[in-house]
């Protein structure tokens, strides 16, 4: 028994070290590696026709700002169709959309959805029939794209291998409270370091479902949006990759978003991500591992990315196994099988490597003092750890009792924009 537990612990420690090394590799690459921005300089071109979707459910406070920004974009007006996708809003979202449509009827074509499965994937799937042109872009209703953003996101599609493009999401409500400040650090690390390093190293940059676009031909080739998935973005990233299409990241294509300002909202968001991500893991990991279209480095990185929301379970399991081994009187065995250094790495480096990313990301962004909040992210780490574990267990229970997925909308905080 103790030997089995010791072997399990050794495996878990090895996995944690692999993830820690991955974080360190990404961070060092951002500091010292060659930075790839191959499509950023395409500023003049025969631009393709794009359709911009704005999925919205009860977004009366924010959708006006998004529409206003898109109408001011420097993309040729005749080549850009704006489609607000209102999915059964119960607030004044439709009235806000209609007010904007009356101001630009030739450019804004709303899609009002009153039936069907709830959720962003399902809404986007239904709205796709209203798309025109080769490229579909998605901006969540709380995003405010800058003038040049649509062009920047369209430019990579001149590369015939590009199936999806992702820009950088930047919290706009950082100063609201401690949580928003902590999430700002986390987002910086995720985009400024993780995503850009993946782009630099030709690994697997992730399509985030907003501030990004997808090539329609590629989407059609892989079966379109899947309404049964909670995280349609992760799902699309992997289905594209498994079928020979790349996702690229453009770090300088930034757009402000609202991050959660309350812990319960944040916990629900993390749970949704965890469940959706693990859905993708369960459905595709084997097919992805065997795909002929994926390079070795993409395969390794992609699998690690797929398993990322399974790691908290591994971490908790590791602690439980280590404690069990101790109480089973296997302290000697522990010493014999697991070098002390590995245990220390397990309990510190495995977690702190991500923090290392945050520091570098913040410094790359030209900030400094906010790094002082870093120790508090331990709190965020533990909240995420238990939220993810709860989500995974909840998903298992749902599977056993046959309960369907529930879409959880993220709360908005901004005051309504006038129109």
């Amino acid at each position: 028994m103790t030997h089995v537990l010791a072997a399990a612990l050794a495996l878990l420690v090895a996995m944690m070290i692999a993830y820690a090394l991955r974080h360190l590799l990404f961070t060092l690459n951002r500091l010292f590696g060659r930075q790839r921005h191959p499509y950023l300089d395409i500023d003049v071109a025969d631009w393709p026709r794009v359709t911009v979707f704005i999925p919205a459910h009860d977004e009366e406070k924010v959708i006006g700002g998004c529409l206003e920004a898109l109408l001011a974009a420097d993309y040729p007006a005749q080549l850009m169709k704006i489609v607000p996708v209102d999915d059964r809003s119960t607030d004044g979202t439709r009235e806000v959309i209609e007010a904007w449509r009356r101001g630009a009827p030739e450019r804004i074509s709303p899609f009002y959805r009153d039936a069907g499965m709830p959720g962003k994937s399902a809404a986007l799937k239904d709205a796709l029939q209203h798309a025109e042109g080769e490229i579909v872009m998605v901006f969540d209703a709380d995003y405010v794209p800058s003038r040049g953003l649509v062009k920047q996101l369209a430019a990579p599609f001149f590369d015939p291998e590009v199936g999806a493009v992702m820009g950088r999401v930047v919290p706009g409500n950082v100063s609201r409270n401690l949580l928003t400040r902590m999430l700002d650090l986390e987002r910086s690390a995720g985009y400024q370091v993780d995503q850009q390093a993946r782009m630099n190293l030709a690994l697997v940059p992730q399509f985030g479902g907003t501030v990004g676009g997808v090539r329609r031909a590629a989407m059609d080739a892989v079966g379109g949006w899947d309404e049964s998935m909670l995280t349609e973005d992760t799902d699309m990233t992997f289905r594209l990759l498994m079928n020979g299409w790349k996702t690229v990241y453009t770090n300088r294509s930034e757009c402000h978003e609202e991050v959660p300002e309350e812990w319960p909202v944040r916990v629900r968001q993390v749970k949704r991500w965890a469940r959706g991500h693990n859905q993708v893991l369960a459905r595709y990991w084997l097919r992805f591992a065997a795909s002929r279209w994926v390079t070795l480095r993409e395969r390794v990185d992609g699998l690690m990315l797929m398993f990322i929301f399974a790691m908290p379970i591994c971490l908790l399991s590791g602690w439980i196994v280590a404690i069990a081994l101790y109480f089973l009187g296997a302290a000697d065995l522990l010493l014999a099988y697991i070098p002390l250094l590995a245990l220390m790495t397990y309990s510190t480096l495995g977690n702190f490597a991500a923090f290392f990313e945050m520091v570098v990301a913040v410094l790359l962004d030209g900030n400094r003092n906010r790094v002082r909040l870093l120790p508090l992210n331990l709190l965020g780490f533990f909240v995420s750890l238990f939220a993810i574990c709860q989500a995974v267990l909840g998903a298992l229970v749902d599977r056993v009792i046959g309960r369907g997925l529930v879409w959880d909308k993220t709360l908005r905080y901004r005051a309504a924009s006038p129109r």
Binding site: R36, P38, Y39, L40, D41, I42, D43, V44, A45, D46, A69, A72, D74, V144, S146, R147, G148, L149, K151, Q152, A155, F158, D159, P160, E161, V170, P171, G172, N173, V174, S175, L178, R181, D184, S188, A217, A218, D220, A221, N243, G244, W245, E254, C255, H256, W293, D365, N367, R368, N369, R370, R372, L373, L374, P375, L376
Partner: protein, 305 residues
Amino acid sequence: MMPAPLALMLLVAGALAMLAVPFLPMWAEWRHPTDHAPLPVRADDSNAIDFFANRLRARGPTRANEQIVRGDLDTDDDARFAALLVEGDASLGARNEIVEWVHADGTLRMGSATTALRRASAGREMQLAPECTFERLNAPRILFGREIAAVETPVADTMPSLEIASLPGAVPRSADMTRIAGDVILAPGTRYRGSLVVTGSLAVGEGAVLSGSAKSYRGIVVGARAVVEGALVSRRNIHLLGHCRVHGPVVSEADIVIAAGAVVGSIERPTSVTGENILVEEGSIAHGSVWAHDVGVVWSPREIA
């Protein structure tokens, strides 16, 4: 000798004190924020090359080295400018140096061995003499060196035609895009329909027409008088040989060499050329933007001879 319980208490206290150290600045920053502004994202950020020119036009010079010329401008040899807006035509002498940017509303002529370290743009046309070096150029028409007589390009409709998807080893990934493992040569004098991604190198044969875009992992050579109707993308070098035409963007993460007579883009469909280093032979033309991350150079066989 210290009693064991006391030693243990000291150890715990010491460990807690060390743990608390990073929380002190954290507490100060939390209670009295000094750095909590969102990362700035300019709403009017548009990457437009004439951004600085338009800003200078709107607000007037604010620095000693910013200049606006109301009309045409001719400069002497060896002149040096920081930021220069010319509302007519500008003719820069030999060996001029532009440190930040230059924009002419009409035609911008850069004398031999002139250096534009950042942005150079024109509302109508740019003409760069041999040995000019540049970083970012933009104009409806950019002529490198002296113009040479155009050569007739193939007429696609009269050529033998093949679908890209019918090539050996081709695996279609969508109605328009095909992947091919290994090197690919598109036969001379043949028209190919569709876009392709090649894991090896790609050679577009002399006088061939590619009605689509192409990406190659290991470099691209477009033969003389060949036509590419879409974009060219590669992580390695791209060579455009004499009198070929490319209508879409040319994107290399390495170097781009453009031979005499080659034309990229058109007046009606301007486009972008971007690479680490761009070597342009006298007699070639680009419409739109040419952006060298490191350096772009105009060269002439006459100068070398």
